[in-house]
């Protein structure tokens, strides 16, 4: 009754090929955008924005990137942490060297640099497949982190090896550095994420996305019908790294403020983002957001329940937390291996037929 395409007539090709062909989907998107930019910053306080919403948005961007590679193109990567570090260090070098280009340009530039690095590390994927590739991508993780630790040029030879983001402004509003307000950071990150989520949605249904999915479903068959694996796989690596690089740049420059490669971008980041897309749903833009939301919120929620609710001491709570996260992941995989996005798809099917399912 509420959610169905019956009666929505398309009068021209543009309507027919719209990103969201069903009117209700469009209304939901408008509502979400309105909520993101008008309601959320009004009702949520600084703590919420900084501790939950900002990491959620940034991880969503990273999850989107990994979803392009793993969900759409079927190449498992464990190098996400390393690529995030590339993004972070590129934007650091750029912010110090050419701050006059403006922050947004720099974020996109650091994405492009990461894309180049990602395509380079994607080269083995042309020869290696499956878990062999997954392990091979670990090489990029360890190599990149080592590189950023050892080569002084990347952190401008300061003694601690830490990088700290200098203050920068957009339209005269501070967005990085310790003096920037959380609200400004929020608007910046939310706009970038919103724009690039739409771009990803668009890419996925276009020629590139279809090529990726053909490669994912069966690479030899895809090759036979004329999909070039070199172009398809490397473009997936490049686009994926572009997103992950931007996420890394925002993660460091906007959210953390200062970072040190071994801690901020270690292998656990790679696993975390991989968990997000598995729990959210492989090959789904919505899934990236759901997964990121779930994995950002859950540890905080658990900690609050355990420490504040039951008065568990914090060391024990940390152990219980890690156990629960692990157990929940297993339970999730058993109950719904296609992720949260699949639940939404089922709900959508049900809604279309409701209230006369036969």
């Amino acid at each position: 009754m509420i959610y169905r395409e019956t009666g929505q007539f398309k009068a021209n090709y543009a309507d027919d090929q719209a990103l969201f062909p069903i009117a209700q989907d469009r209304y939901v998107i408008y509502a979400v955008l309105f909520a993101t930019f008008a309601v959320v910053p009004m009702i949520l306080n600084q703590y919420w924005l900084n501790a939950i919403i900002l990491p959620f948005l940034i991880y969503s961007l990273a999850a989107l990137g990994l979803n392009v590679l793993t969900g759409y193109c079927g190449q498992v990567s464990l190098g996400t942490g390393g690529f995030m570090a590339v993004g972070a260090f590129s934007i650091y070098k750029l912010m110090v060297a050419v701050p006059e280009l403006g922050f947004i340009t720099l974020v996109i530039l650091s994405g492009i640099i990461t894309a180049a690095v990602g395509a380079l590390f994607g080269l083995p994927s042309l020869r290696i497949k499956g878990f062999y590739l997954a392990v091979a991508t670990l090489a990029s993780q360890f190599f990149l982190i080592w590189l950023f630790n050892k080569v002084g040029w990347f952190f401008n030879y300061n003694a601690t090896g830490m990088i700290t983001s200098p203050p920068m402004t957009i339209f005269g509003v501070l967005v990085t550095g310790p003096e920037a307000t959380v609200t400004a950071k929020y608007f910046l990150v939310a706009s970038i994420v919103a724009v690039f989520a739409l771009v990803a949605k668009n890419l996925a249904r276009g020629r590139f996305g279809r090529n990726w999915m053909a490669i994912r479903d069966m690479d030899i068959a895809a090759e036979l019908i004329g999909v070039r694996p070199l172009i398809a796989k490397l473009s997936a690596f490049a686009v994926s790294s572009f997103y992950i690089g931007m996420a890394g740049a925002l993660y460091f420059a906007v959210w953390l403020g200062s970072a040190e490669p071994t801690e901020a971008f270690d292998i656990n980041q790679s696993f975390l983002v991989l968990f997000m897309i598995i729990i959210g749903g492989l090959g789904s833009v919505l899934g990236s957001f759901l997964g990121a939301g779930f994995l950002v919120l859950m540890p905080i929620l658990l900690k609050n329940i355990l420490v504040d609710g039951f008065g568990t001491d914090s060391a024990l709570a940390a152990h219980i937390e890690i156990m629960t996260v692990g157990a929940l992941i297993i339970i999730f995989l058993i109950v719904e291996p296609h992720g949260l996005a699949r639940l939404w798809r089922i709900a959508k099917e049900k809604l279309r037929l409701w209230p006369f399912p036969y």
């Binding site: 062999y132 152990h319 156990m323």
Partner: protein
Amino acid sequence: MLFFIEVTLSGLMAGVMYSLVALGFVLIFKASGIFNFAQGVMALFAALTLVGFMDEFGMPVWLAIIGTIAVMIALAWVIERVMLRHLVNQEPIILFMATIGLAYVLEGLGDILWGSDVKVLDIGIPQGAWDWLWDQGIYVEKLELFAAATAAILVIFLAIFFQKTRTGRALRAVADDHQAALSVGISLHTIWVIVWSVSGIVALVAGIMWGSKSGVQFSLSLIALKALPVLILGGFTSVPGAIIGGMIIGVGEKLAEVYLGPFVGGAIENWFAYMLALAFLLFRPQGLFGERIIERV
């Protein structure tokens, strides 16, 4: 020259330690096609349990080892019952993610049960330099020699188990083709419990060796990451591959650290193994001894 021999030998010995972990991976991958990321944490968990049995309950070494083996078998049973049984026929990546979840659970469980501080594990393995070679001017750790001997015995034992026993034949049948094995009456569930138990015991051996060397602590679970390049080099499905791959990685890593490290700033041990494995993979995508990958449309 003497120095070169010493570095090579110590690389070989370190390689054996990696092989011990890689062996557990191979066993599970062969029998169930699961890439078990929890192998490293299983080694940590086994070592923690062993230390716990010895220190907190005052058990003698042999009893504690038997107790730990019992715990690992029980664990294998629980894992099969709670997790694997429900994940039959899922895609490999889902199973892989589930084992990462398992790694988290085991890590938390081990810490809650036995505490997270560094523990000393001493079950009477000789330590120190091996006198005979020390006289020739080469330093070789007795413990590592002992580990190498244990690994050799373990491999012989596993080879006999796989080739000569009824269960071993069933395991090979499952490894070859799940469906065919099922159709001739082999129970997949039993096989999985057996194979996870065996790799649990291998994990215990690895845990004992690494624990005696550097104390039982969280970093033990990270040796799994060290075993991965060994795996891709040797091939996921080959037991000899795990051993030889381990040795190549061990030697390559040590030689690179000593002769190449100084030029690029050192600490290249972390990634060199991966690069080495990657270079091998470009020529043999299935690893040195892995089964040839045949693809059909």
